[in-house]
Symmetry: C2
Subunit: 349 residues, 2 copies
């Protein structure tokens, strides 16, 4: 293939062809997906999730078996020093920490010489990540699927870029939340990011560990079809700390429990919890809660990760380069414009 990549501080630091990292989605970002992203020239991160060591070992072996060097991401408040040590022994390409204070784990990661990526949902999180010596910050907006908080990508990315410029200008910044095609990748770079961390679009890759029924439901949905809630955490008995909620597709199940998620934790709700687990495993989008973000409205088909990545970068590059002339060739539809009968304003002000 031709080298149609985009070069940024992120691609240079990691030797990548595309300024894109795979979001380490718990359950969905397994060894095959992480390997596919890595081999296509992105940064592949395994979804370390809730810290199931057996799952991690199996999926990591799949990636290594495919000849790929990958990194791993953890849910910080579920991480243990021993699991981290096991993973550092595998010489990961990077370790990403999200959802919790990185300070207790940062020293071991630095000592192993492994780049530390900290995902941040607020400016306060970003300050803590810089204190912990993170080399890469991810500004994750509320559009994202899975766990996150309330700030939007459009403001969090430039604000963290300003923070980095003032405090630690060598830090790399990735945008996350709602980035699913060349348009949003290009927008991320304009906002001051060095690349993007991408979940939903790779959740809809053929290598993702996602049931077919969920993929089909996602392809048929628009972006209004998701919501943030604590229903999927309550039904699993997980005690996520504030301020984090989880974005999933709305479903009959979420509609039923949205107003009273804590009822799902009651002893007598056992059969309901079992039914939800079965729906999740079977890909039953009506009785489960598929974990995907607002970008679901930009996803019409399942494709191999390499194809997604190549098209995304090529589209971003083409869009960015179209602006080398001051006249922008086309926005929304780029169709013929209606004549709105307006006289140009006088040239003097």
């Amino acid at each position: 293939m031709t080298d149609a990549g985009i070069e940024t501080g992120f691609t240079t630091a990691f030797g990548l062809r595309h300024p894109v990292a795979l979001a380490p989605m718990a359950g969905a970002a397994g060894g095959r997906l992480a390997a596919a992203v890595a081999q296509a020239g992105g940064l592949g991160l395994l979804g370390g999730g809730y810290g199931e060591a057996d799952w991690i070992a199996r999926e990591w072996a799949l990636a290594e078996g495919a000849g790929a060097r990958i990194g791993i991401g953890f849910i910080t408040w579920r991480l243990t020093p021993s699991l981290l040590a096991q993973c550092l022994d595998r010489a990961p390409r990077a370790v990403m920490l999200s959802f919790g204070d990185p300070a207790p784990f940062a020293p071991a990661i630095h000592a192993a010489g492994v780049p530390l990526i900290c995902q941040c949902q607020t400016v306060a999180h970003a300050r803590a990540a810089l204190e912990a010596g993170a080399q890469i910050l991810v500004a994750q907006g509320a559009e994202a699927g899975g766990h996150g908080a309330t700030r939007g990508t459009m403001t969090l990315v430039p604000e963290l870029a300003d923070l980095i410029a003032a405090r630690a200008p060598q830090t790399i910044l990735l945008a996350a939340g709602g980035i699913a095609d060349g348009r949003s990748l290009a927008a991320s770079l304009m906002l001051g990011a060095d690349g993007a961390l991408i979940g939903s679009r790779f959740w809809a890759a053929s290598e993702a560990l996602v049931p077919q029924g969920f993929h089909a439901a996602a392809c048929a949905s628009d972006g209004d079809a998701t919501l943030r809630s604590s229903v999927p955490d309550a039904v699993r008995g997980l005690d996520w700390p504030a301020p984090f909620t989880i974005r999933t597709m709305r479903s009959a199940f979420s509609d039923r429990w949205q107003s009273d998620p804590q009822a799902l934790r009651a002893p007598e709700a056992g059969p309901i919890r079992t039914a939800w687990s079965n729906a999740q495993a079977a890909g039953d989008a009506r009785n489960g809660t598929p974990v995907v973000g607002e970008a679901v409205g930009l996803i019409q088909q399942i494709a191999p990760a390499a194809e997604i990545l190549t098209r995304m970068t090529a589209d971003a590059l083409s869009r960015l380069q179209s602006f080398s002339a001051p006249k922008y060739p086309g926005g929304a539809g780029a169709g013929p414009r209606r004549d709105l009968g307006q006289d140009p304003i006088p040239s003097e002000i």
Copy 2:
């Protein structure tokens, strides 16, 4: 001044120098601000707010007195046919409808030959706006200050661009929510918009009808300082329809009432309501709720609207044109990068 504008379908249709419209912020976007934006080459929209005809007449006269031709925006669920008719008689440059079904008002606007702008918070809203024959859609993300809903700018803009391309490609698309500088304006264009509708950054203009104390509080805050709630609606006794909430700065007042806003509607809460009103008028950010969006974290100083507009477009253009070469010159800090000790991946995949 030199013509350093950006040309898009939006600027062409309205004869603008900048692809920017002033958000018709209730209370804050008065005649002086609308005139300043219009005369600097943007689209100035008066904040028609809750439909106070006297306020509108007075502020419109200010703009006309300054020699500016402006448009107006309304809160659709508060608009009446008679107020609309009065405003159409003034030959507005455009009419913008937000927060409610535009269908009952669209025919009169079309009959007057006035461009109709519909602000949309969901894909469903956008479908209704196209049905109503809107010539301009605004995709408003949850980052925005004031009323809005939950979808983020980063996904809503490209999704509405796709809808427009499929159904009515001559429609103009503006991005709104979190757009406050050249970076986010450039990002909006990359996402497929023809320009941006900007609130918070103009709320912090010297011509805005905003008390000095609120401006000072905003300049001192980061973007974590806002929240969406119904507190400011409850304290005013306003019955906003679903799905709309209002984003303001957090304050001692919002912290106190966030968990039980409806208590503010009780008869015995009269003195509390009065104290809030007084705080709003006095610019007391601690006891009031300044209406501004997440972009507050990108605002460090109050400036004249013309200066804001000129700098925003110049910065956007410079950022966009920096990408005419495939190597991107710098993201976040654009400082020297740490060596993360990574070997480039093999060139074959």
